[in-house]
């Protein structure tokens, strides 16, 4: 199994509070991603990173920010959580093929963490 650890695995918080989810990898993969999974929507990309301090928005980035100060860690922050952000969040990694942005991700396999279930009351 790919070495991907998400923390926390479960969190309940209140509207308006900040929340940070952490993804840690031991594979030294270049690309890291944050997805959210909601019934009827499949997985939707929030943000991704193609290197240390290189990040970009996905399709549902509003209300989220990310940081990657080390190859192995990718943090997802909800500055002020809302009930619409109740979801299961998945981190994924891939090796990539070089270049910038999603074009450099290539066709490599994505490896997923086990997910973080966030409930915003």
């Amino acid at each position: 199994d790919a070495g991907i650890t998400q923390s926390p695995r479960h969190k309940v918080t209140e509207t308006g509070t900040p929340v940070t989810l952490r993804c840690h990898q031991t594979e030294n993969h270049r690309y890291m991603y944050w997805y959210r999974q909601d019934p009827g929507h499949g997985l939707r990309l929030i943000h991704y990173s193609y290197g240390v301090k290189d990040t970009d928005k996905g399709e549902v980035s509003d209300g989220y920010s990310v940081s990657r100060s080390k190859t192995e860690d990718f943090l997802l922050t909800l500055e002020s959580a809302t009930s619409s952000q109740t979801s299961v969040y998945f981190c994924a990694i891939s090796e990539g093929q070089g270049g910038k942005g999603l074009a450099g991700a290539g066709t490599g396999e994505l490896f997923f963490g086990e997910g973080s279930r966030l409930t915003v009351l």
């Binding site: 499949g42 997985l43 999603l102 066709t107 994505l110 997923f112």
Partner: protein, 110 residues
């Protein structure tokens, strides 16, 4: 723009029966196609992928999929399912960015 449609949200089937999970896509560029599986309370893992070459792709756990360019489909099949195949299955298309379908819940009953 790309899109992916999984035609069935739920597929119930009896053990040892064949199954087909349907996936259609649209794209203005050439695409790569994937099927991922998600077992309960776990992340997704790759079942199989089509990048080029033979349109019939074999994956893990006895699954296979056929790329049909004229029908823009990439249906997943297994000739005989097991209880352990109960999971959610996601079709994904990459044509510059990776887009996931909404998922199909496969429920295998004894």
């Amino acid at each position: 723009a790309q899109s992916v449609t999984q035609l069935d949200s739920q597929v119930p089937v009896f053990e040892e029966a064949p199954v087909e999970l349907r996936c259609n896509y649209s794209s203005s560029v050439s695409v790569y196609l994937f099927w991922y599986v998600q077992y309960p309370n776990q992340g997704l893992q790759l079942l199989l992928k089509y990048l080029s070459g033979s349109t019939l792709v074999k994956g893990i756990n006895g699954f296979e999929a056929e790329f049909n360019k004229s029908q823009t489909s990439f249906h997943l099949r297994k000739p005989s399912v097991h209880i352990s195949d109960t999971a959610e299955y996601f079709c994904a298309v990459e044509g510059g960015k990776l887009i996931f379908g909404q998922g199909t819940e496969l429920s295998v009953k004894p």
